[in-house]
Amino acid sequence: MVCTVRGLVKTYPAARGRRGAPATPAVRASDGIDLDVVRGEVFGLLGPNGAGKSTLVRQLTGLLRPDEGQVRVLGHDLVRHPERAARLLSYLGQDSTALDELTVGLAAETTARLRGLETRAARDERDAVIEELGLGEVAGRPLKKLSGGQRRLACVAAALVGERPLLVLDEPTSGMDPVARRAVWAAVDRRRAERGVTVVLVTHNVIEAETVLDRVAVLDRGRVIACDTPAGLKALVADEVRLELVWRTEPPLEVPEVAALWKSAEAARAAGGASGRRWTLRLPPDDARAAIATVTGGPAFAALDDFTLATPSLEDVYIALGGRAEGAEGLVKV
């Protein structure tokens, strides 16, 4: 076991209102979280904005002291000894301010030095990681002058220098193009294969979660509402398929079958899934087949612009598990 979390609770106190900023009530960002992360796995934390993902990883990395609960990483109690986290794990936060004005090469080298490496070793690691992530062309340029995706990649480089058995990465690939994403996952995979490195990953990219994660915990309002393999989670909604309909203008509600669909999609509408011209329906396969027969024949077809039929994704799981409606909007689908 690499990482064990038990009964983690963290509440941000209520903020007084100031001029221009309304008062915010106290937020329970971690509400009794239990997690187990096994050696060598890529463990994902999935959830919409504000679900408590970053708060959770900040407690895993000793940056934030939990109000209650236990965090053990590789046998060390990080609630009692938060300073040990830096010697056990490598953390990639969301912010790059500390490195922004350094060149990519110096950012990696300095981070390696501060992770306890000798000058020579730090330079070797710097060169290796720059090569590995394909940053050679921009190695001499300050992070500030790079595009968002490249800057993020440089931060990943800084997180990867200096061997650590656990990597905690907070949205490592946000803003990256597919080439950079592939480089990051290849680098992570290599460390996992060669050294059994464990990865705890925050994401709200559903597609990425399905492809790279071994197991995923779905977070909502500070609670883990599900934890399983992506396939296992999708099996929860295996008896449904997702049908997306796009109408050219107004949906032809005068067609009785379409009106019935609209009525049966009540739940999806309540979850924000169907609105205006674009409907997202979650139906048993037989019903979906009947619905497609309806909308692709007869008067409804004239009003139909496009339709998509797909197996359930983690997004559907999220909604089936009772995630917030606005939460689904926070999940990135591409």
Partner: protein, 302 residues
Amino acid sequence: MSVMPAVSGVSGVSGTTGVPGVSGASAGLPGASGVSGTSGVSGDAGEAGDMPAPLAARARLFPALVAVYRAQLSRARVARIPLLFVATFQSIGIMILMRGVVDGGSEARSVVAGSSVLVVAFVALNLLAQYFGQLRASGGLDHYATLPVPPSAVVLGAAAAYASFTVPGTAVTAVMGSVLFQLPMTNLWILLAVIPLSGAALAGLGAALGLLAPRQELATLCGQLGMSAALLLGVLPAARMPQVVSYARDLLPSTYGVEALARSFDGQPDWWVVCADLGVCAGVAVVSLAAATWAYRRAAVR
């Protein structure tokens, strides 16, 4: 990068036929989840036991300090050079302005010394307060806080770098001032002691302010106020100040750097007094850097 079989398009035929295949594929999933689900977790817990893993080495103080210093110094190329020009021109401008008011003698010495040390206050106090304020507000401190580096290495490295930024500006200002007011330049080597000592004192103060201020704007404000104080209390001749203001002047660490430099313009400087002034700077530097290190610790783990 989608892995799901998606059937799309207005060609309704292929869409309809896709449905049975879809439900068939997902029927196989529950079995897969059972294998790699929670059962694997409990098995691993038994074998791994609770033996703490070895901790990686800490970064030692001096190498870490050098690494931070080097990184900070390199930032000058990107972000600091325009500000250094501003700092220098501001001080030279003030001296030119004061030339019409002050007619040589001890007042001229304090104007030149005050303007030179003002460059130190601008960069080490004001800019460093802003830097740490910004780092803290944006979450940039997390980067350092999750590296096994002694807090003092981060604070001292940054403070040393900012103090170094002040060297060219302070030297140029002191030489220009000596020329403008026809002061002897023989003892200007004292800058070698004045810059690091007052730089350390003011940088420590700036870092502490930046790390302690509850909001970034307040850190900026504190830095600006500190610099304004150094400007007013350092450049204006002390003899003309009201009693209360001269107490405030005694409290400001930059004052002792100014005094030390001003005394060195004398024909026969009283080196003991100069040393005493520099000693105060050194004392304040130790205290303020310790305070800044404490503030860093406090800011890093919330």
